[in-house]
Subunit: 293 residues, 4 copies
């Protein structure tokens, strides 16, 4: 086992007393954010643009996803990009627009932090700190997130095994922050029709191994807009506590991830379909508001 | 793209006129087997033991899966095993028991063929010929299947891309047999909690690219009994035309794949749950018979 | 471990008495072919076109590689191709040309067999039977090769672990044929600059685990002509007993693998360079003949 | 192509004017460190323990590798570990011991930095900054390294393609630091006999694509002590400008990577063997000193 091999090189072993282990907690961890509970049995919908591009785009998209049924907003101010010549995000200016979007809609916000030096500033602006896939093994960042006072949405690495992922989450809990939301977002495989391969079996496996809530990001998991609602519904069936998707008020003009960003009307339709599927597995959407459409 | 690279070495390119392509057929291919239609919108359930081990085991399991709601029987007489010292299957004796199971239950049967020399004999016994993952690139076998008079259940290779898989299916259609059922059964990834990673997004991607029906095998796709019903339901949500699962009347004693074989009562429960999920996506189970339980 | 997981599903375990295991044989297996020894410490060079295309091409290339220093000829009469519309090989006609090339040069020949039904015919024409990567898990073919009276050049699968590979070789030995030559030819990885990733550490690992000789195919292992000599020399340094490369008298017109086929003069140059490297690790080329150039 | 897919989501494309591209520089980049040139044609040997554990261990190992023929010292003060319960490194105390080892031997030192906040401090202590595999996509860290005044030894990610790797290196050059040494250290594959699969073809491919020097780390690339010298020699044959290996004065007691750490006498023997191989490809070791043994 790859993970075994890595571990074989470590002197300290994953012990039975790891804080992330299901048996370490009598019950499922429920995370409370401005009146919303993640992991309490109702499906939470997180939506918004990949990147905060302009004040207008962020506020317009926030309004759209609020209308479409989102419970929380997402939007990146610091963007990890393969090329240094790609749009790198607006930085603190983006955080400011995100904060305005929260004031406009009342929805809590989640945004990514990439640098230990930005942790405090990002914590000041956001309701949930996101640590992205490429930083799953950025241990100083994990430790810093473990010291911050906000819940952490922690994404699985593109090629991490579930055991490696949970050991990385352990870095956060070990520092004192036990409010961690796990997120399956696709792993790298040889398949090329999709951007990544969404590993839906990871959801029940994680649920068996840990007490932490688990959400699914079908936008990065597939890379194609038309696949997002299909995989989002399947994610609910396998037990996800929430869904995080990219929505853009004008995907054709998006500065990143346009191909996988939903149009607002697709998002609203997806939420209605998720509600039906959730019902079929005995669940419901969180604080579901009648839609305006 | 890996597939591109392979193709770059070929002189003939995958052309727009491939027989597997969706545009090559005006409508979805529907496969008729003893009164059962695969690909016509109703979910077909295929169940049975990994291997035909004894007459008693095959008949008992066949009766159980019939009662549990199966539409077709599966069972291997020729088994591809990693080690030559593992049970290799009963051969023609196994086909005989499979035939008896069909007579007992009235259910059509599917069984794997591994050798071109066995094709005619296997065709005589079975209703559907299966070509397994390890033979996805066994081109002489594909050509022989293309000449046989029975439908072919053709499994995706453990590390094949979808485009490679469809080009392999093209070998069968090109020889004149257009009754091919595709089957997603998990791909090899670095994850070790599951035997393979079930690639559920492959289902809608295949449906978009080809007119052939697509089923899902969550038994091999996960390797763990408890994950099978969860992933089977998700497979229905993403658009699978059928589900193929391993059921054993005594999994603890199975000569192969015991860990992933359902107990008969788990199978019956799974069928009931699939029916509910199918309803939520506007589908139903094929010829669903009231269960005896 | 992936292999472990597969094995866990088998009832028979890889035991300490496997015939391929180093400890099963007191000494290294040496394979004698028409006066050439493979595995006896001198490097053997196998060269020729990917596919036998015409009588002229085969004879011209055979003459060229003989002049360049080859000890054996290769050439495919049955070609496994991703697409059914690619050139599939000349079949028995190709075997006939291969036989003529042997008569012309005196060099033994190796050619691939893909179908159990062709085994006897191919054995009649060739000195070594090749089983290709895509058939590493074609168990009926392995068993048939185990019964044939010729040595088997057995290639590692594109994504097989070394333990899976050795268990597959065990199928051949178990049937009574212990003349098996292993061949590392690249594995599938995410890297796209090369067709596959040549796993050179597999050579010493195989040498440690088994008594069988091991050769390396840098043509398929890299997919690019310019990389072939570089990786061939490295293969000698890590302990390969031989090198198998594709050479074409006119690579630009090759019906398959043209990009990775050496020009005859590149081949001759490579042999000279290999001889120098072999000397630096205390080895020499087999029956090295003064070159005509 | 995976990399293509990622890029397709970026607005800025890898352009022909990337600073890392071979064509962007008329000649190979040579990096000068305390009188040693990397990339100038002579093989540089970097050796030392995985982690700085104690003052005694660091100084003893430094002395040993100096005697064995090392040109530079390595040793980790900040250790990225899969588990938070594994030894995390001594931090600044470790840097102090590393500095002492430099004073003792006169050899320049390289050590890893993981946190942007530590960059300045690490730069003060070390001659080369190392960025490890797990931080290949830690963009803030790359930018900070791009602003520092020391050369950067930048390791390839465990599953990065070469194009992704070069785009990541571009982050460093773009900030003004063009003294980057690339390092192949193995990629994740399905093979389990080795810790990673050392991709030796990456060396000539990198050399073709970029003007930056390339070294190879066979310790992490294989994970097993006995494979290190074999693969180190092969690395020289494929064109590496240097070799970095782990050596420990007492590997059995190492706090990390003991299995892959050479004993000092094995290291000295390896250097002698590398010298012979280097000669066979027309190269020599850098400033090679007669050994004391």
């Amino acid at each position: 086992m790859k993970e075994e091999k890595v571990d074989a090189h470590d002197h300290a072993r994953k012990s039975s007393s790891n804080l992330v282990d299901r048996k370490a907690n009598g019950v499922d961890t429920i995370i409370h954010i401005n009146g919303i509970d993640i992991g309490a049995g109702e499906i939470v919908i997180i939506a918004g643009p990949c990147a905060v591009e302009t004040r207008e785009q962020m506020l317009a998209t926030a309004k759209e996803v609020y209308d479409g049924g989102a419970n929380m907003l997402r939007g990146g101010a610091f963007k990890p990009r393969t090329s240094p010549y790609s749009f790198q995000g607006l930085g603190e200016e983006g955080l400011q627009y995100l904060k305005e979007a929260r004031e406009l809609t009342g929805l809590p916000v989640v945004t990514e932090v990439m640098d230990t030096r930005d942790m405090e500033m990002v914590c000041d602006y956001t309701d949930i700190i996101q640590i992205g896939s490429r930083n799953m093994h950025n241990f100083p960042l994990l430790k810093e997130a473990g010291k911050c006072r906000k819940p952490v949405l922690f994404k699985r690495g593109l090629m991490a095994t579930i055991d490696e992922y949970l050991l990385a989450a352990e870095y956060i809990l070990k520092e004192g922050n036990d409010e961690v939301i796990l997120c399956e977002r696709g792993i790298r495989t040889f398949e090329t029709s999709t951007r990544n391969t969404l590993d839906l079996s990871a959801v029940p496996v994680l649920k068996q191994k840990t007490h932490l809530p688990v959400i699914v990001d079908p936008s990065h998991g597939t890379g194609h807009r038309w696949l997002v609602p299909i995989m989002a519904k399947a994610a609910v069936v396998v037990g996800a506590d929430g869904i995080m998707v990219e929505v853009h008020n004008n995907p054709e003009e998006a500065l990143s991830d346009g191909m996988q960003s939903l149009y607002p009307e697709e998002f609203a339709q997806m939420v209605r379909e998720i509600e039906i599927i959730a019902g079929a597995v005995g669940k419901k959407l969180y604080h579901y508001k009648p839609l305006h459409v």
